[in-house]
């Protein structure tokens, strides 16, 4: 059943005419004063297991109704805990080159679709078109509050569904044209409604909630409910979406020469903590080397120590990347040097992302340098001194196309299927910058699908001594960069996207030049205005009439002069 919420009988009739081929499946609801009541009415009375609620200014494509059962079958199979699906919403993570959290599978006066193919978990949906799993909603006794009007119902409905434990999703199969931009001013008024904000704050730990039209600020009301059982919207949205789905697998790979045993132990301990808190990804840790493993590491029974074949004439670091990608059976790889470590804090969130993002995604996370000083760099696990340093932000990953690496190797989780196809010619020709080469190779595949998450995933030890990145002789680095530049230019790790950062810079530069030119115009106008005033004050007529102006100000009270202002 498709329920159309129509502003009038006429607009309902127009919708029916527009979708004549399936008008028998459409019920027009007119004379409504509350979209909230419509939702409750539909949940209570819909005779089917599923239904769609649409605005009367939505244009559905031909075949929409015929293909709906396929979508429902796909949702039941792949997202068995689904409760509500829309065609636009806010994801708990960023996607695409811009790291955008807004997912749009529709066209409207704001723009067109900005993502493709994948069903994505969402925190809030846009209400132009909603697919309801009536049976699940009834099973969970989900209802929305009986507020008036036609604003915020979609946000509150999404939140109610998530709080009740069901998944809220955005699906490309529901794409349509929505012939309305909505009323931002109406929304802005609704967004400061205390009733709505208090209702949301009683459900969520969040102090702000994002949706397509903006942000609802809950800062001043959220702590009234500090003792309530509440949920963090993004995390709960992901947890619900994962219910009934299988886990993905992630292999953390640590390449080592076993010459920093203490730091390697630290690395292993933190991966184990990360693994312990990962709920939706099966994490395994592989330590790989061309050297013999150290006996003292036998206390880590969960870690696999693999010895890779070596070509002693050459640095093996890139070869190990390719070798391990072919050796392990895993969906994703994370390369963590033996002096790096993982932060376990966001492990559940990250594991849910990896499990739920489109298959084959590449994930980018924040990382941070830490300056460390060890008393004994061989055996000490934790440093005598440490201070936090530079932070690498995940959202800048697209800068890698500029020819400079913006993402440390431990800041990316990459699909194993892609890493394993890095050409041997590339592996054999590059020694250093193997991390950058691997990232670029993944980022330039046709299947590249970026997911951007601004949480801190890994710490990077910076010590100076014994780290190749600090060697004063740059010959080996320069040689590798020469090869990498050649490979990019030849197209082995290249795509047309290489020009993207330059384009962005050009546009941002153009904006800057425009602002500068506007400033110049303003400065010039200001200059001319002052010059004209000074010229006028210098005229005889102005000087002669000055006593009259002085007299006027002295005699006429200022209050009266103000009342005269509009007359001038």
């Amino acid at each position: 059943m498709i329920y159309v919420v129509a502003r009038s009988a006429e607009s309902g009739a127009i919708f029916l005419d527009r979708h004549n081929s399936f008008r028998g499946k459409i019920e027009v609801l007119t004379g409504q004063t509350s979209y909230f009541n419509v939702i409750n009415h539909v949940i209570d009375l819909c005779p089917d297991g599923y239904c769609v609620i649409v605005h009367d200014d939505v244009f559905l494509r031909s075949g929409f109704v015929e293909e709906l059962p396929n979508l429902i079958e796909k949702l039941d199979r792949d997202w068995p805990n689904w409760g509500l699906v829309g065609n636009a919403g806010i994801a708990p993570f960023g996607v695409g080159y811009s790291g955008e959290r807004i997912i749009r599978y529709l066209s409207d006066p704001h723009g067109g679709p900005n993502w493709t193919e994948s069903v994505v978990p969402a925190e809030t949906l846009d209400g132009n078109l909603l697919l309801l799993n009536i049976a699940s909603l009834r099973r969970k006794s989900i209802r929305v509050p009986d507020f008036f009007g036609f604003q915020m119902y979609d946000i509150i409905f999404s939140i109610e569904v998530i709080v009740a434990g069901l998944a809220v999703l955005v699906a490309p199969d529901l794409a349509c044209f929505h012939a309305s931009a909505g009323s931002q001013s109406d929304f802005d008024v609704a967004a400061i409604s205390d009733s709505a904000r208090i209702h949301i704050a009683s459900r969520l730990l969040n102090s702000r909630v994002m949706f397509l039209n903006g942000v609802i600020d809950l800062k001043d009301v959220t702590l009234q409910f500090v003792d309530h059982q509440r949920f963090e919207l993004g995390l709960q949205s992901l947890r619900n979406a994962q219910v009934g789905r299988s886990n993905k697998s992630l292999t953390v790979v640590t390449r080592t020469r076993f010459n920093r045993r203490g730091m390697l132990e630290r690395c292993i301990e933190t991966v184990a903590m990360f693994k312990g808190r990962s709920t939706s990804v099966d994490v395994s840790h592989v330590v790989v080397s061309t050297f013999e493993s150290n006996d003292s590491l036998s206390r880590f029974p969960d870690v696999s120590f693999l010895r890779a074949p070596t070509d002693s004439r050459k640095d093996d670091r890139f070869r190990l990347v390719k070798w391990i990608a072919n050796e392990v059976d895993s969906d994703y790889l994370l390369f963590l040097d033996d002096d790096d470590w993982l932060f376990p804090n966001a492990a559940e969130f990250i594991s849910l992302l990896v499990a739920l993002a489109p298959h084959g995604s590449s994930f980018f996370f924040d990382t941070r340098h830490f300056s460390e000083k060890f008393i004994d760099e061989v055996s000490d696990s934790l440093p005598a001194l440490v201070s936090p340093g530079r932070k690498f932000e995940a959202k800048l990953f697209v800068g890698c196309f500029s020819g400079h690496n913006h993402i440390p190797f431990c800041g990316a989780i990459l699909p194993k299927s892609t890493v394993s196809t890095i050409p041997d010619s590339l592996v054999e020709s590059i020694t250093l910058f193997e991390d950058f080469a691997t990232l670029l190779y993944c980022m330039t595949r046709e299947s590249f699908s970026p997911v951007v998450v601004d949480v801190l995933l890994a710490g990077i030890s910076i010590r100076g001594d014994g780290q190749t990145v600090f060697s004063t002789d740059r010959t080996r680095w320069n040689e590798s960069m020469a090869v990498l530049s050649a490979e990019i230019s030849r197209g082995v790790v290249s795509s047309r996207l290489n020009s993207l950062p330059q384009l962005a810079l050009r546009y941002s530069g153009r904006d800057l030049r425009f602002i500068e030119s506007m400033l110049d115009v303003a400065r010039e106008s200001h200059y001319h205005a002052i010059r004209d005033v000074n010229r006028m004050r210098a005229t005889w007529s102005w000087r002669i009439t000055r006593p009259f102006r002085v007299l006027f100000r002295a005699v006429v009270p200022s209050r009266l002069r103000r009342t005269q202002d509009p007359l001038r």
């Binding site: 500090v226 301990e269 934790l382 936090p388 801190l456």
Partner: protein, 296 residues
């Protein structure tokens, strides 16, 4: 000093939730045995409700005394640690440790050695990695205004004499309170940077769109601490600090909660508190800052 208790069998107190058990068993307890050469008594308490798996009674050199929730309802950090201290029935020194930590090799032995050298020390605090707290430490004496309760060695006699932790905070800042009472009773609080614990504390991971419980309780308890040690004037200045420059996030609710729930149950310390280590320099800032330790 009760070094006999410390050296003969080292006592460690941990209060935890049921979900912490895998980490306790797989990471924390094994690290305990690497942190000291002494025999260890682990006094652990699961403060979460519901039935949980108990810890084994022994683990290598570790003897475990495990307790479930001490009563229905929520018990705070101080109340749980006081319970463990009283359950032991001795005034031996003890290490207090958060359940999400991993101790570095020899970490507890370093705390013990430092305490032996610091006759006045009531609390010897270890250093947290990777985010060391950026508070001041005297370069000659290693004295510090207050010690975190995440990893510290506490003098048992001092703890008994001062009545243990103030349970009125429920959660957060009871460690600052205990430290200040140490200073005011003639003891000292010492920082031992060579005793290191891996503790991925939450501060760096707070999200801008979620006000954490730590933030809320921290602000509320800040007012309680200011009132308890500095009276009405302290409370007034603390409220001013929360409200100035447009107000700290969540200040309004914290002030309301403090006035409604906490204030009437606090008895301010009599007389004017005047001690160079007992000071409030900002919202929840009881120390000068070491800027090199603050992430950009």
């Amino acid at each position: 000093m009760y070094i006999e208790g410390v050296y003969g069998r080292l006592i460690v107190q941990v209060v935890h939730r049921g979900e912490d058990l895998p980490h306790l068993l797989d990471r924390l307890i094994p690290s305990l045995t690497r942190s000291t050469t002494s025999e260890i008594e682990l006094w652990a308490l699961d403060y979460s409700s519901g039935a949980h798996r108990e810890l084994p009674t022994s683990f290598d050199r570790v003897t475990v005394h495990w307790f479930g929730q001490i009563r229905d309802g929520d018990c705070g950090f101080g109340e749980n640690h006081n319970f463990l201290f009283q359950a032991r029935g001795t005034n031996d020194d003890f290490v207090i440790l958060n359940p999400d930590c991993i101790l570095n090799n020899g970490a507890i032995d370093r705390l013990v050695a430092t305490k032996l050298l610091s006759a006045r020390a009531a609390i010897v605090e270890g250093r947290q990695w990777p985010f060391e707290h950026p508070k001041e430490v005297d370069p000659l004496t290693n004295e510090t205004p207050w010690a975190s309760g995440a990893f510290a060695l506490i003098d048992g006699r001092f703890y008994a004499e001062c009545g243990g932790m103030d349970e009125g905070y429920f959660m957060y800042l009871e460690d600052v309170d205990l430290s200040w009472r140490a200073w005011l009773s003639g003891h000292s609080v010492v920082y031992e940077s060579r005793a290191v614990v891996a503790h991925f504390s939450g501060g760096q991971f707070y999200r801008p769109d979620v006000i954490s419980m730590e933030e809320h309780y921290g602000l509320r308890n800040f007012l309680r601490l200011a009132y308890k040690f500095f009276g009405e004037e302290g409370e007034r200045r603390a409220i001013n600090l929360l409200e100035e420059n447009g107000g700290v996030r969540g200040a309004g609710q914290a002030i309301a909660d403090y006035k409604a729930l906490l204030k009437e149950r606090v008895t301010p310390i009599a007389g004017n508190v005047s001690h160079p280590r007992v000071k409030i320099l900002g919202v929840n800032r009881f120390h000068q800052l070491r800027l090199s330790l603050i992430p950009e």
